[in-house]
């Protein structure tokens, strides 16, 4: 069979499927990255910056509280496994960090306090005017 005929046959022959890679690690760029040692880490600072609204913060905490409620209920019933007790410890720490993260909400709280203070002052001014 001539080379030309072989080429023609190869061009219509289906290519073999690529074998699945069962050893691929999570989120890696390929085998070479897997076997190499990491040498550097570039952190995109602006991409990590965040602006968390009050609504987002409350939604996150609500979700975390819901998860914690399930676990504390199990603990009260005496059905919490050691692994889940460990998970609850980590969850509590995560919640603490979010509860202390006042960056998103502090400005809102102060705005509300200022609004209340302004209302009180306005009321006092009105009362004084009425008296006069």
């Amino acid at each position: 069979m001539s080379t030309t005929d072989e080429t023609a046959i190869d061009s219509i022959r289906p290519q073999p499927l690529q074998a699945p890679t069962y050893e691929r690690a999570s989120v890696s760029g390929g085998v070479s990255e897997e076997l190499q040692m990491r040498r550097s880490l570039t952190v995109d600072a602006p991409a990590l910056s965040r602006s968390v609204s009050t609504e987002d913060r409350e939604a996150i905490l609500e979700s975390l509280y819901e998860e914690r409620t399930e676990l504390t209920r199990a603990r009260r019933l005496g059905t919490l496994s050691p692994a889940d007790a460990d998970y609850l410890t980590d969850l509590n720490r995560y919640i603490d960090a979010w509860e202390k993260d006042e960056g998103a909400s502090s400005s809102d709280v102060w705005k509300r306090l200022e609004a209340i203070a302004s209302s009180v002052l306005s009321f006092q001014v009105d009362v004084e005017r009425t008296r006069k």
Binding site: Y22, V27, S40, D44, A45, S49
Partner: protein
């Protein structure tokens, strides 16, 4: 004394790979809506394409990705994977249900990349050398010379599954400005990276089923094992306590 609360994760990743996920092309829209309802605020959906769908949560630095071949949940710069542990099994439940891939899983992995802050890359290399964690043989020295930097990458396996472990020194470079204030204590200038990739026990080459509860148990077991390993490595490297630790 330090405890696991002082650990820092550069990345926590849960990934499930599966076959027969091509139905994603038909159902990515329905799956996106199901995940949107499950994840809620502040997760924001990125319009799905033929290869991936994605939700991003900038507030917590979490990304959820799904597609015809795999599903993953990733969180960066955090002290524990508690939030990933909460979200990943719930989201996987929907992916497995909508795409019907819960019984055609080919691989499930949980990866933790822990960073131990050091003064400089040279300090990190010296600590690894003195710890005897990675020791070159006389035959190696004869063949390649005494190494100036050391690391170790290996794969071990037991009843808990396969574990790929890596230890190396990394230089951290911040681009575009300083670290955000909430991450200033977490992102080091140089670090020793402990990379632990846990693989769910399975028979290589065969499909297996994976449901939410076993996935959650696997994530927790992998983290407990990683914490123990990290504390052992930390002690071997004779790293100082973090500044905020009080005795």
């Amino acid at each position: 004394m330090t405890d696991s609360a002082d650990l820092v994760l550069n990345q926590a990743v849960v990934e499930v790979q599966y076959d027969r996920g091509v139905v994603y092309l038909d159902k990515c829209g329905a799956l996106t809506l199901r995940l949107q309802d499950e994840l809620g605020r502040p997760f924001v959906p990125i319009p799905p394409n033929m290869e991936t769908g994605e939700f991003k949560n900038g507030a917590e630095r979490i990304a959820v990705r799904y597609g015809p071949k795999s599903f993953s949940v990733t969180q960066t710069w955090v002290r524990s994977p508690a939030r990933v542990e909460q979200l990943a099994p719930a989201a996987w439940g929907h992916v497995a249900d909508v795409l019907d891939v819960g019984r055609t899983v080919t691989r499930c992995g949980v990866r933790f990349q822990l960073v131990f802050s050091v003064e400089s890359p040279e300090d990190g290399e010296a600590r690894i050398a003195e710890s005897k964690l990675c020791v070159e043989s006389p035959e190696w020295i004869s063949a390649f010379g005494t190494p100036t930097s050391r690391g170790w990458v290996c794969v071990s396996e037991d009843h808990r599954g396969k574990l790929r472990s890596g230890l190396s020194v990394i230089q951290v470079t911040l681009e575009g400005g300083p670290a955000p204030s909430d991450l200033a204590d977490l992102i080091p200038k140089a670090a020793i990276l402990l990379d632990l990739d846990h693989v769910y026990p399975c028979v290589s080459g065969e499909h297996f089923g994976l449901q939410k509860a076993p996935l959650k148990d696997f994530i927790r077991a992998a983290w407990q094992r990683s914490k123990q390993t990290a504390m052992t490595i930390r002690k071997a490297l004779e790293l100082p306590d973090p500044p905020h630790v009080h005795h």
